[in-house]
Point group: C2
Chain length 128, copies 2
Amino acid sequence: MANQSSRLDQVFAALADPTRRAIVMRLCAGEASVGELADPFDMALPSFMKHIHVLETSGLVQSEKSGRVRTCRLSPDALLGAEDWFQQQRAIWEARLDRFEAYVMKLKKEKEQAAAKRPSRTTKKKGS
Amino acid sequence: MANQSSRLDQVFAALADPTRRAIVMRLCAGEASVGELADPFDMALPSFMKHIHVLETSGLVQSEKSGRVRTCRLSPDALLGAEDWFQQQRAIWEARLDRFEAYVMKLKKEKEQAAAKRPSRTTKKKGS
DNA sequence: TGATTGGTTAGCCATAAAGCTAACTATACA
DNA sequence: TGTATAGTTAGCTTTATGGCTAACCAATCA
């Protein structure tokens, strides 16, 4: 029934295509008509329009038509939303690295203390 | 012939699926076996393994098998690569905003100067 | 008014994606 | 040695994606 697919799903899916990434990059530099956007691509217009539509339903791009020309512009919110996702993951990842480092330091310290007590067992496993 | 699809394509495509994002999030907290990863999902193992494989060919995840259990870990490089892409776009976008702001300021200044010369035309268009 | 331009709709096709079941391999445990 | 566990392979189905052509509006321009 439902086309249950989150905003992030749509944004990442939109950005998974090189044509669409190129469009986004182009629009970062300023708004443009469909024709201008399509020009560099060796692709039939209807195919190209599908990409525009994907970008639009993902929320990355907005457009409006005046006269017979449709002007597209970037809507940076969706882009920032996706960027946030990365930063959250990185925060978790880095926290984990910190914990890992703390763990390694603890191991190291224990090992040093053990070595201080029994100075001859430094390289051996199974000392018990 | 060639399966010409860039690393960024693959990373974004991998992240476009909520199951795979969840796996990445889980792996941010530390490595895990396929079984542990699959547990929260109501999905047959072969289907789940496909997701792992997608993540692996995208470079986001690495895994190795010891005995009969395969352990997966995040490889943060690909994640950082994608994050970079956003930051580059944002840099372009912000530079453009700066230029736009400069342009608006210039317009404003010109308008003020025009108003100083002909004080009664402030709201009208087509003054020529 | 008639032709051009800019975009849109409709519909087709090939391939890829995401899920399933069934059957199999190989390690580990009893 | 036999059984349970952890993945894996093979093969099937349904739906989504990315491309095309052909035909069709609706503004502009001559």
